[in-house]
């Protein structure tokens, strides 16, 4: 709250002295840096704690790195196939994202460029499905997957990505604004089929939209917890979030190993984010503005 009052002092800088704005700016920066510290300190604490023995974790506040990282890591690896979980989650997320992006683009383009009679009604239904809480059908979903014989497989985690209402909405917006109808017309005059036009002419134009949607879908799938938790039982097939949850219950008193598990699940996200943060943030902003 102090920050909003400091904005007051800052604005009339053109007509007032320099001392006021200077202090105000200092306070604003302090507020920004303080908030950044609150965001980062838990991660710092996590890295530091992961490198100490359980007895020193229990004994004192740890501020500098120790040398027990590998020991903690080996204890974790002995019982939890965490890299296997990592590979499983990557596989599920990549395939789901590819499906979601392709079929959302297909449907978004269909809604955007084809004037079929039920267009508006069906698009309203697509938007309506976004309002349904995700867990409403979870028990029926479990039972249905059981009757397909698909429990403990990846199909129920991957295939539903084909219907992504937010994706269809986003892709329709992109097709509306960045796919000119003239291009489709010229493709038809050249005698190209509709699917050929979509694959060769339209998809390249929608690339920025596809990238935005891919980022959203990938993060969502990577973090998915409830679905793999109920669908998969086999430890070898399990995803990273469920394994991390398992680490908490299996290593109740082994804090070092728990911290290493968390570090392993956060590091890849940290690396990807530090390389792509501009792209990810602008995607989030674009998605939110369109939404």
């Amino acid at each position: 709250m102090e920050s909003s009052s400091t904005i007051t002092n800052k604005a009339p800088e053109e007509n007032r002295g320099k001392a006021g704005p200077l202090i105000a700016r200092l306070l604003i920066y302090l507020f920004l840096i303080g908030s950044a510290a609150i965001c980062l300190i838990p991660f710092y604490s996590m890295f530091i704690t992961a490198t100490h023995t359980n007895s020193s974790i229990a004994r004192q506040l740890l501020l500098i790195p120790g040398d027990q990282l590998l020991n903690n890591y080996h204890r974790l690896i002995e019982t939890v196939p965490i890299w296997r979980g990592f590979a499983n989650t990557t596989l599920i997320s990549v395939v789901s994202t590819a499906l979601a992006v392709y079929f959302s683009a297909l449907a978004g383009y269909g809604f955007s460029k084809y004037r079929f009679s039920l267009n508006n009604v069906l698009f309203a239904i697509v938007l309506g499905t976004m309002m349904i809480p995700g867990q409403l059908g979870i028990i029926g979903f479990y039972r249905l997957i059981d009757s397909f014989g698909w429990l403990n497989t990846y199909w129920p985690l991957i295939l539903p990505s084909i219907h992504n209402a937010f994706g269809v909405f986003l892709m329709k917006q992109f097709a509306d604004s960045s796919v000119p109808s003239e291009i489709i017309e010229s493709g038809r005059i050249d005698g190209s089929g509709e699917l050929y036009i979509f694959h060769r002419l339209v998809l390249p134009l929608m690339m920025p939209g596809l990238a935005t949607l891919a980022i959203f879908t990938f993060i969502g799938k990577w973090n998915d917890f409830l679905n793999p938790l109920i669908i998969l039982f086999d430890n070898e097939l399990q995803t990273l979030p469920v394994m991390i949850a398992g680490v908490k219950s299996q290593f109740t008193a082994d804090f070092g190993a728990q911290y290493v598990g968390i570090v392993i699940s956060i590091i890849p996200i940290l690396i990807v984010f530090s390389v792509m943060s501009k792209r990810i943030i602008s995607s989030v902003a674009a998605g939110a503005v369109k939404g």
Partner: protein, 291 residues
Amino acid sequence: MNSKLTKYYFGYIFIAPFFISFAIFGLVPILYTLYLSFTNWDAFNDPVYNGVGNYTRLLHDTAFYQSIGNTLIIWIFSIVPQLLIAVTLAIILNEKFIRGKHFFRAVYYFPNIITPVTLGVLFSLIFDWQTGSINKLLTTIGLVEDPINWFNNPWWSRLIVAAVICWQNFGFNMIVFIAGLQSIPDEVYEASQVDGASGWQKTLYVTIPLLRPVFIFTLITSVIGGLQLFDSPYMIGNGPNNTTRTMIMYLYETAFKNFNFSYGAAIAYGVFVIVMCFTAVTIWLTRKREQ
């Protein structure tokens, strides 16, 4: 579009995958869950018709009411500071003189893409009674003499769960608010400057009212998302006397831990009705104020 060249029926083919997938993996499970909610089913024998028995039980289930209360308390304690911090930071980061904007934006947004399960485990470790960093810090600087048993106290537990959710999501809302701020045309500010508005007045009478639609968007999405809290509270645990058990946690425990699928289905519909009511109230409140 030239009607002769518009192959409108192709639109149906393009949107078909969405609707087929939604029908199988979305609609059928939802309707099947509805059917199960009128039966008695323990997953081992066949479902037996039970009329509205599950719903009668739900209406008298204090555990369910408690989980509604818990969810609302956690939601309110997380959404209010979350939006305040987000809008404050967005306004500051939208000022021209701030340096390192991208760095701050990236740092504030980072917690949002971390797996919620991982954050739940991380914070349950950090706030651990005997070994957590928070208690070590508080005792080291002498703020408290004995470590505080956070998760033994209902209100501390709820506040910590709310804080984790606030901490994870304020960055996302900040990005949305920044996108909203950037869509406010400069002319509006110039006009208010001509009218002699101070910086504080600009924020209060120009920026905030123009951010209304963005505020409504974040509020509605956070009602739908916030009432379905599961991942990170589930990792932190049920709290003393189940005081941090959310609605979805209760649903999960009933169906997938106690294998009472039919009662779980009734809870799922109870949650659905509550989410819809709160969404409707939010929309109604924001509409009413607009007139």
